[in-house]
Symmetry: C2
Subunit: 223 residues, 2 copies
């Protein structure tokens, strides 16, 4: 069986978990805290990052969430997530990169640092200036989602795609950490409620990160 | 004709230029300085980043170097760069991400900041501690290339692939900025000399970034 090495609040692992669930692929979770930098984990992934997806019996080790999603797309026909024409697929990948890179760098990563790493690892208080800036930038990204949803059925076009799952994965982690304020983002909020109500999302929303309380409404598809 | 919006030292644009040249696709360069953040460029790419590849007559705009390379791979048969089995393609994409993300974050990006942005935009002196740390991390990446080349013909396996071009693109920018010291890296150096001698690499190596002198040996495939 596939084993996914990850921790509950890794947004890239969430993207992979959503893709695996949408495609109906069985897998089990292996807890990994990349910040511990154990030798065993570096031996598995020289980049020292989660997620890593392994099938020990078939001796397959896949690294990097996008490389993993492309692999799943190439090997499993069910529920295509990078779909359409070549130009359509490029649009999906553009948006995946936007959320994996810019949303992560500007919002998810600073939120994880301030609200998870400082609490669990560094035992220091969060920096409120950094948090405020991350939340300000989150609003800009939600504005962009509002605009996309005003113009399209799903983020990348007429069909639900990996772009929706990549965006929802990042947002769900920022939301767990108190970084998402939906006021003024009706379209984005409506889209996210639909994402939250998918069965593939349920296990993620029910999972807790030890030591970090779940905020009200986080797991509720109606909120 | 395709138009590539970029500046001479953008490593992601270099990756795309190498892919275009290897595939024999005609294109012209459009100079873009993303740090100027012009409205026109944000209208083209809301992420405000280079590269952007456009075909105005066909109304196609492609954004994100990896989305662009996947598009080229899907639409042009010549010189496959993401090739082999699904697992082999995952290995190519893992290494592309390693160089595009970690090498860029740890080496190319700090070198660009200290040696290009501070000189041309901020008009302040480089920080020698940041430069030293980037060069130390460059050695770690070159060690990893040594190890790969000890075990494989090319970075991702038996065939030359996009992994080689992604790595060489990052290294060539760091090298232009004085960040690469080959001592102790025989294997990596031999591999890079072969990359430099490819016709697709020639235009990049002959191009200058205004205000930043080209170091000795940079463009010489024998050095
Ligand atoms: N591009 C990678 C990014 C993975 C990543 O940055 N993972 C984080 C956890 S959210 C990590 O392991 N960071 C530890 C580190 O960079 O040392 C992917 O999509 O898998
Ligand atoms: N993942 C993107 C990264 C592009 C990127 O970071 N480009 C840099 C130039 S090397 C840029 O435009 N930076 C300006 C900014 O981030 O504001 C790609 O592969 O195209």
């Amino acid at each position: 069986m596939w084993q996914l090495h990850c921790f509950p609040l890794c947004p890239f692992s969430r993207k992979v978990r959503l893709a695996l669930a949408e495609k109906g692929i069985q897998f089990e979770l292996q807890r990994e805290n990349p910040w511990e930098g154990t030798d065993a984990f570096y031996a598995l992934n020289p980049a020292g990052r989660t997620p890593v997806l392994r099938e020990p019996d078939k001796r397959i080790t896949l690294i990097d969430s996008q490389a993993i999603c492309e692999y799943l797309e190439e090997t499993v026909d069910k529920s295509p997530l990078i779909l359409g024409t070549a130009a359509g697929r490029a649009e999906i990948r553009r948006l995946v990169a936007l959320f994996d890179e810019q949303f992560f760098d500007e919002v998810t990563h600073p939120m994880l640092n301030e609200r998870m790493k400082k609490r669990l690892v560094l035992r220091s208080p969060p920096d409120s200036k950094t948090l405020r800036e991350a939340m300000r930038l989150a609003h800009e990204h939600l504005d962009y989602i509002d605009w996309l949803i005003d113009n399209r059925r799903w983020l990348a076009g007429a069909q639900m795609s990996l772009a929706d799952f990549a965006a929802a994965a990042q947002i769900s982690v920022a939301d767990y950490l108190g970084g998402i304020d939906w006021s003024g983002h009706e379209e984005a909020h409506a889209w996210y409620r639909v994402m939250k109500s998918r069965p593939s999302f349920r296990p993620l929303l029910n999972e807790k990160m030890e030591g970090i309380p779940v905020p009200a409404g986080y797991a509720d598809p109606n909120s």
